[in-house]
C-alpha cells in the first residue's frame, strides 16, 4: 500500500482577530498549523498502516519554505517521507491552478516513490474553505473520488470509505487508485512520539521547485494561470443585536420569548 497525503499549512483561524479600527484581519502572531482536516486524512492513512505495517505514507505540501514545519509535524505523527512544492511562479494560484500543480507534482514524486494507490486530502482547508482542491486533483489525474470521508479501509483493489451524508453514513467502494477527502471523524488523531519528533526534526525535506517541472504548462499556473480573481475583500458587517429578554424568573423570560415569537408569527 502506497499512500500520499496532501497537507496545507494554514493560519489557525480560531486565533484570527479583526482590527477594530482598520477593519482588517490581524495576521501577526497567529500561529501556523497543519490544516485540521489534513490531520484527519493523515490519521486515516496511519490507521491503514497500523493494520499493514508494510504500507508507506508520503506527505506532500505546496507552499512557502516555512511549510516544512507542517511537513515535519506530519513526519512526527505518522508519515515516512515528505516533499514540499515551492516556487515563486506557483504563487497566487487559485484552486484550479493549485490542483494542476499538485497533480503534476504527484507524478514527479511517483517517479521516486512509486505509484500511489490512494491520495488522501482534508475535505477543505480552514483558511480558504473551498473544498475544491481534492476533487480537482482527482479530475486532473482522472481518478475516482470520495469526499466527506470519515474512515477508510483497503479491500483488495478497492478502498472502502465511510462517508458522511445527510441521512447518516454511506459506505462507498472506489477502485484504486482513488482520491479520498476527509472530514472530522469521531476520534482524535494520534499525537507524535518524542522519538518520531526528534527524527522528524533531523529529516531532510526535498523541495520541488519550478525547475523540477520542465514540462508544466506555464499558462495554467500562478496568478495569471488562474481563472478566478479576487476583486475585493471586506470584513462582514455585524448585525445589530435584537431584543434582549431578562425577566425576574427564567419562567417569565421563557413565556415572554414565546409571546414575542408568536406575535411575530415565527412559531
Amino acid at each position: 500500500m502506497n499512500m500520499l497525503v496532501c497537507v496545507k499549512q494554514v493560519p489557525d483561524t480560531t486565533e484570527i482577530k479583526i482590527d477594530p479600527v482598520k477593519n482588517t484581519l490581524i495576521r501577526e502572531g497567529v500561529p501556523s498549523i497543519v490544516n485540521p482536516f489534513d490531520g484527519y486524512a493523515l490519521e486515516a492513512a496511519a490507521r491503514i498502516k497500523d493494520k499493514d505495517p508494510s504500507a508507506k505514507i508520503v506527505v506532500l505540501s505546496m507552499g512557502p519554505e516555512q511549510a516544512k514545519a507542517a511537513l515535519k509535524e506530519c513526519l512526527a505523527i505518522a508519515a515516512d517521507k515528505a516533499y514540499l512544492v515551492s516556487g515563486r511562479a506557483f504563487g497566487g494560484s487559485d484552486t484550479l491552478a493549485t490542483s494542476y500543480i499538485i497533480s503534476e507534482a504527484i507524478k514527479k514524486v511517483e517517479e521516486i516513490e512509486g505509484k500511489f494507490d490512494v491520495i488522501f486530502c482534508g475535505k477543505q482547508a480552514i483558511d480558504g474553505d473551498t473544498a475544491q482542491v481534492g476533487p480537482e486533483i482527482a479530475e486532473h489525474l482522472n481518478y475516482p473520488q470520495v469526499t466527506y470521508g470519515l474512515e477508510a479501509e483497503v479491500d483488495g483493489d478497492t478502498i472502502k470509505v465511510k462517508k458522511e451524508v445527510e441521512e447518516g453514513v454511506e459506505v462507498i467502494a472506489a477502485k484504486m487508485p482513488a482520491v479520498v477527502t476527509f472530514t472530522k471523524p469521531a476520534w482524535d488523531p494520534r499525537y507524535p512520539t518524542i522519538k518520531r519528533k526528534m527524527a522528524a526534526n533531523r529529516a531532510e525535506i526535498p523541495v520541488l521547485g519550478e525547475d523540477a517541472f520542465p514540462d508544466i504548462d506555464t499558462t495554467r499556473i500562478g496568478l495569471k494561470g488562474s481563472p478566478t480573481h479576487v476583486k475585493k475583500t471586506f470584513v462582514p458587517q455585524k448585525k445589530s443585536g435584537g431584543v434582549k429578554i431578562k425577566e425576574e424568573t427564567a419562567e417569565d423570560s421563557a413565556k415572554k420569548l414565546f409571546q414575542l415569537l408568536s406575535d411575530a408569527s415565527i412559531i
Binding site: T13, E164, G168, A174, T228, H229, P236, L261, I267
Partner: protein
C-alpha cells in the same frame, strides 16, 4: 470554452424520490435577477431518476427552460455519472454562468465539472450579483472562518460557476408552470461509474439530521454540559418539528455526533428559525448559521457574542427556560 449563449443555468439537485432539493429552487430566485442583467434565459438543469416533480417545481418557480436528464443511472448520486452528464450538457449548450447548491453533493460535483471544463469555480457563495463594470458574475463568499468576505470574478473562462450556500436565498412564490422542457438522453456506462454505494447506515435512532433542509433548528453548545443536556434541546426541537444542531464544542466533547454540527467545520444552515442554546457564538459557529431568518439565543452569560447577532436573546439558564418554552408551544399547538 466560449459561451454559446447568455443563458444562466441553475443545477437543480434531486432527492431519490424525484423531488427537487430546496436549494436548487431557491437559486432560481437570484438566477432570475442575474439572467435578466446578463440578457439571457434562466435555465434549470435537472438530473435524476423519475424527476417529473422536480421539473415541475423548477418550472413553477421561474425557470424559462428546463433541461432534463432522466435515467436509472442517476437514481443515486455518483460523481462520475453526474459529471459526465453535466459536462456533456454544458458543451452542447454553452451557458455563460452556472449556479450549483453547496450541498455535500454539489461541492463534490462542482470542482469535478469545472476542472474538466477548465473554468473557474467559486465555493460556497453567500451573495451573488453581476459586476457592473465587467458584466461578470460577482461571487461573494466568506473565508478565514467567516472573518473575511471576498468577491471573486471569473473574467475569461466560461461558464462561470459557483456553489451557493443553501438557505441564503428564498424560494419565489410558485406560479404557472410554463417553462419549455427539453429532454436530453445521456447514457452512462456502468463501467464509467467507478464508485459503488455498498450500504447506508442511518443514524442510530433514525433521527433526522437534514440540517440543510430544515426550517427550524434547535442547537446546543458547551452550555448544555453533557450528552443528557441535549434532552431539553431535543424536546424543544420535537415540539417545533425541528432538527437538533450542535456547536463544535459540544461535538468535540463527544456529547453528540458530528453530523449535527453547525458551523465552519460542520454544516452551513439557513432555517427560518434558529435557536442557539448555551452557545457562546464563536465566529466559526456564526459563519454556519448567520443566514437564518430569525435567531434566538438562550445563554446565561449576558456578554456572550451570540447576543450580538440574535433577534431575540434570553439571558438565563437554558435548563429552566427550555422546558417552559416547550410547554408553551405544546399548549398552543394542542
Amino acid at each position: 470554452m466560449e459561451a454559446k449563449t447568455k443563458d444562466l443555468w441553475v443545477f437543480v439537485e434531486t432527492n431519490e424520490d424525484g423531488t427537487a432539493k430546496n436549494v436548487g429552487i431557491e437559486l432560481l430566485t437570484p438566477g432570475k435577477m442575474m439572467a435578466g442583467k446578463q440578457g439571457g434565459a434562466l435555465v434549470a438543469v435537472v438530473i435524476g431518476n423519475n424527476v417529473d416533480e422536480a421539473v415541475k417545481a423548477a418550472s413553477e418557480h421561474g425557470a424559462d427552460k428546463v433541461i432534463v436528464v432522466d435515467g436509472p443511472e442517476y437514481a443515486h448520486y455518483t460523481t462520475d455519472a453526474y459529471a459526465i452528464a453535466l459536462c456533456a450538457l454544458v458543451e452542447k449548450y454553452g451557458p455563460t454562468s452556472m449556479l450549483i447548491g453547496a450541498t455535500n453533493n454539489g461541492r463534490d460535483l462542482g470542482p469535478r465539472v469545472s476542472c474538466r471544463l477548465h473554468t473557474g469555480l467559486t465555493a460556497d457563495c453567500t451573495a451573488l450579483d453581476i459586476d457592473e463594470e465587467s458584466g461578470n458574475v460577482a461571487w461573494t463568499r466568506p473565508a478565514f472562518g467567516g472573518n473575511l468576505m471576498a468577491t471573486i470574478l471569473c473574467p475569461d473562462h466560461r461558464p462561470q460557476i459557483g456553489t451557493v450556500r443553501p438557505g441564503v436565498f428564498k424560494k419565489s412564490d410558485a406560479g404557472e408552470a410554463k417553462a419549455e422542457v427539453i429532454k436530453e438522453d445521456i447514457h452512462v456506462d456502468a463501467k464509467d461509474i467507478r464508485t459503488q454505494v455498498l450500504e447506508l447506515i442511518k443514524e442510530a435512532d433514525g433521527e433526522n439530521v437534514d440540517l440543510e433542509g430544515a426550517d427550524i433548528i434547535v442547537s446546543g453548545g458547551r452550555g448544555v454540559g453533557g450528552p443528557e443536556g441535549f434532552e431539553p434541546v431535543k424536546a424543544l426541537a420535537d415540539a417545533l418539528g425541528g432538527v437538533v444542531g450542535a456547536s463544535r464544542a459540544a461535538v468535540d466533547a463527544g456529547w453528540i455526533a458530528h453530523a449535527h454540527q453547525v458551523g465552519q467545520t460542520g454544516k452551513t444552515v439557513g432555517p427560518k428559525l434558529y435557536i442557539a442554546c448555551g452557545i457562546s457564538g464563536a465566529i466559526q459557529h456564526v459563519a454556519g448559521m448567520s443566514g437564518s431568518d430569525c435567531i434566538v439565543a438562550i445563554n446565561k452569560d449576558p456578554e456572550a457574542p451570540i447576543f450580538d447577532i440574535a433577534d431575540y436573546g434570553v439571558v438565563g439558564n437554558l435548563f429552566e427556560v427550555l422546558p417552559v418554552l416547550t410547554e408553551e408551544i405544546k399548549k398552543a399547538r394542542a
